[in-house]
């Protein structure tokens, strides 16, 4: 498959770009932040996402979705990265819907997928428990209890956790933290007794929550996949999440870079446009190269998820590691080249820097994925 977008994917990109530029530019995020909006996103906008088919992008057509693939999901994420639009697209359309579509029972699919595609149901994927991503360290316990399980423990940085209608929770049904065996996924109603959700206001003004479980009871049919066999589903979901966030980082980094390149062409200092200074030219050109090489890796990761889902691990790690690093460089250079103006809240550059920092952290940062790649290659 050629490593370029095909015509349909190109059209999807154009329509997503046009839609977001019109309906949810950076000022949309700024407004939600300044108004201290309690949900942290716009339900009306999410409904429009659904109407455009984005909410059901990974959902098969038989369940009311668009039945598209990971490349298409990445195309939308990249555009979201450009405008920093907050929405449940990552949590609900990619992590939850994708996981249920791949691993859910028929009943679970019927219950959730149609409503997600329609923009009527929001889900959150609860995995990390520590400050640094390390999925094998899951300790939240699920013990058999009556007809089902009793959950005890806590999750941190659950994206959209406080606005979710359901949660997919990774819990330990056997083994010890650090082991990949013995983990089970559950679909849980966040209103279940014993579950407490605390919204955490994040640096990037995007949604996240901490969720604690104190003897929260779930039925046996809440199990997603099989008991003790959750690791493979989690790995798949995480790889989707990683490639998706990598796409978002490409978009955010590229937009920050584009704004900087424009600034270099306009801003004058010492009687010249600052883009005439060769030191800045070379740094800008270097950054362009980094972004382009990352873009190729991210597209390859998305294509690999579409073609060989179970063998995407290495390539996804490459994509996420590069995306984190090059988007970070992009916002750092953007900040420095904008000078004092970039430092002001009034300018948008700070929003990019903040979101990229969070994106770097989500599902493993560049260091994590370098280590991961070394492990996968046995050194």
């Amino acid at each position: 498959m050629p490593l370029v977008l095909n015509d349909e994917q190109g059209l999807l990109r154009d329509s997503a770009r046009g839609f977001l530029a019109k309906n949810a530019p950076v000022s949309h995020l700024r407004k939600l932040r300044d108004q201290r909006d309690e949900t942290g996103f716009s339900r009306a906008l999410w409904k429009q996402f659904a109407e455009m088919g984005f909410a059901g992008i990974l959902i098969p057509e038989e369940f009311g979705g668009a039945g598209l693939g990971y490349v298409e999901a990445g195309v939308v994420m990249e555009e979201i990265g450009r405008t920093l639009t907050p929405s449940p697209f990552l949590s609900t359309a990619l992590l939850c819907a994708g996981t249920i579509a791949r691993a859910g029972s028929e009943a679970q699919k019927k219950e959730h997928l149609g409503k997600i595609a329609a923009g009527e149901r929001i889900g959150a994927f609860a995995i990390d428990e520590h400050s640094k991503h390390n999925p094998a360290q899951i300790a939240l316990s699920a013990k058999r209890s009556g007809n089902g399980f009793s959950l005890n423990g806590a999750k941190g940085i659950v994206v959209d956790g406080h606005v979710a209608d359901f949660l997919i929770v990774a819990a330990r049904t056997s083994g010890e933290p650090g082991e990949t065996k013995g983990i089970t996924l559950f679909i849980v109603d966040p209103k279940t007794k014993g579950i407490e959700t605390e919204r955490t206001i994040m640096v990037d003004s995007h949604n996240a929550a901490r969720i604690s479980f104190d003897n929260a009871q779930v039925n046996a049919d809440a199990v997603l996949g099989e008991v003790d066999q959750g690791w493979k589903i989690i790995e798949g979901a995480l790889n989707v999440g990683r490639a998706a966030v990598a796409s978002e980082l490409v978009g955010a980094g590229e937009e920050a870079f584009a704004r900087t390149a424009n600034y270099l062409k306009e801003r004058k200092q010492f009687g010249k446009r600052i883009g005439e200074f060769q030191a800045l030219q070379h740094r800008a050109a270097h950054l362009y190269c980094e972004i382009e090489i990352t873009r190729a890796a991210v597209l390859k990761a998305l294509q690999t998820l579409d073609e060989h889902f179970d063998h995407a691990g290495s390539i996804v790690s490459v994509a996420k590691a590069r995306a984190g690093a090059s988007a970070t460089l992009a916002v750092q250079e953007a900040m420095q080249m904008h000078g004092g103006f970039g430092m002001t809240d009034e300018f948008d550059i700070g929003f990019f820097m903040k979101r990229v920092r969070v994106g770097q952290e989500l599902f493993g940062d560049s260091n994590f994925h370098a280590d991961q790649l070394a492990r996968l290659n046995r050194y």
Binding site: I157, Q269, Q336, G340, M353, A370
Partner: protein, 394 residues
């Protein structure tokens, strides 16, 4: 026992007796830093006492001459004082642009009257100063400033606008670059003046930064009358003073990151990622990067020490402050990037008691200005290329 050893012993004893226990704990928040000035509200009685006692000995500025209430210490004695303070964990009694920037300029360029008027008030933290350098359309090209001061016989009439004035809304007085000759080449019509921020016609407007804080202001001058005796040095020769002062600002900003260091990155990382069976950070790639930044930080501490020693020995290149400014501010940015990587998602919480209201994140964002304020990193590299390396056309 050598004189220096006697001094060390006496100093340690004095510090142990006079530095209040609260002033020996690491600074937890910005509010605990003492800046002094007319409007200052001491954060604690201990803060007040500590400033008073140190100021009395002149040890807020150990190496300034005694005649202006400074400590009158030699370089070696000052190093000992610094070392002993560090050993006991003593906080800086006073942070001050008067100490770091204006003072050295006045010592070199001020009249005797100006020295006697202003220096003791700086030493004692009675007047808080701010710096009126940058302007909206000047940026890195500082000398293209447009704020004008017209000669009205017994006073200058100042009109114009400054930007990025640190703590202008909290300062008592300003040292300010103004244009006094519009017909001269840009570096030759600038003068260096001082005036009270309570003067009629002065107003300030804080600038909200990405960190959510406002350490900088826009500062407006609308027909401000400044007595002519407040001119430092000669009329239209202010650029030389400005440059001299900048070298001190640069050394100061370069060393800033180290002063505010706090907990080692490795400890913050250990909390987030844990240690493995061999006692190493469980994230090996992060661990390597922390070690590399620590190496650079230790080396930079020695470079600061050496720069001071070279200056004392008369072997310093005056442009060396640009090396310290460039390296120190870039290093501080690297350090804070690592702190964020070490802190992980917990450090990304912007509003929560757990994260001390996003203290790590706000500090990280604040460091992004380090390589812009006081002359950008690019300007410092230009200066090194030109004044130290003597490269053509630089």
């Amino acid at each position: 026992m050598s004189d220096l050893e006697v001094f060390r012993k006496e100093t340690r004893a004095w510090l142990e007796k006079n530095c209040p226990p609260e002033m020996r704990k690491p600074v937890q928040s910005e509010e605990e830093i003492c800046w002094g000035g007319r409007k200052w509200k001491f954060h604690s009685e201990a803060q007040r006492v500590w400033l008073e006692r140190m100021a009395e000995k002149g040890w807020t500025v150990p190496e300034w001459p005694k005649e202006y209430c400074g400590g009158g210490l030699s370089r070696e004695e000052a190093k000992i004082l610094q070392k002993e303070m560090r050993a006991l964990g003593c906080r800086s009694p006073l942070d001050s642009f008067g100490i770091w920037m204006l003072g050295p300029a006045l010592l070199k360029y001020g009249s005797e009257e100006q020295k006697r008027e202003y220096l003791p008030q700086i030493v004692q933290g009675k007047i808080r100063w701010c710096q009126g350098y940058s302007e909206p359309n000047a940026g890195s090209d500082l000398a293209s400033l447009a704020t004008k001061a017209e000669d009205k016989g017994n006073h200058f009439l100042v009109n114009g606008q400054k930007i990025w004035t640190s703590y202008a809304d909290k300062a008592d007085w300003i040292f300010c670059l103004v244009r006094t000759d519009f017909s001269a080449p840009k570096h030759e019509g600038i003068s260096f003046i001082l005036f009270d921020m309570d003067s009629k016609g002065v107003s300030t407007k804080p600038i909200l930064l990405i960190s959510g804080k406002s350490p900088f202001c826009e500062t407006f001058f609308d027909n401000v009358e400044v007595p002519k005796k407040n001119l430092v040095g000669q009329l239209n020769k202010g650029w030389e003073i400005a440059k001299y002062l900048l070298t001190h600002e640069r050394a100061m900003i370069g060393g800033m990151g180290l002063r505010a260091a706090g907990r080692p990155v490795s400890q913050i990382a250990a909390d987030s990622v844990g240690l493995d069976a061999e006692g190493r950070l469980a994230d090996p790639v992060l661990r390597g990067k922390i070690a590399e930044v620590s190496i650079d930080e230790m080396a930079f501490v020695f470079a600061l020490e050496r720069a001071g020693d070279l200056a004392k020995a008369g072997q310093a290149n005056p442009a060396f402050s640009s090396v310290l400014k460039y390296y120190g501010s870039e290093l501080n940015k690297r350090r804070h990037e690592l702190l964020m990587a070490a802190g992980g998602s917990a450090a990304l919480e912007w509003e929560s008691p757990r994260s001390k209201q996003g203290a790590l994140a706000r500090a990280w964002l604040r460091t992004k200005a380090n390589s812009i304020e006081g002359g950008t990193s690019e300007v410092q590299l230009n200066i090194v290329a030109k004044r130290i390396l003597d490269l053509p056309g630089a």
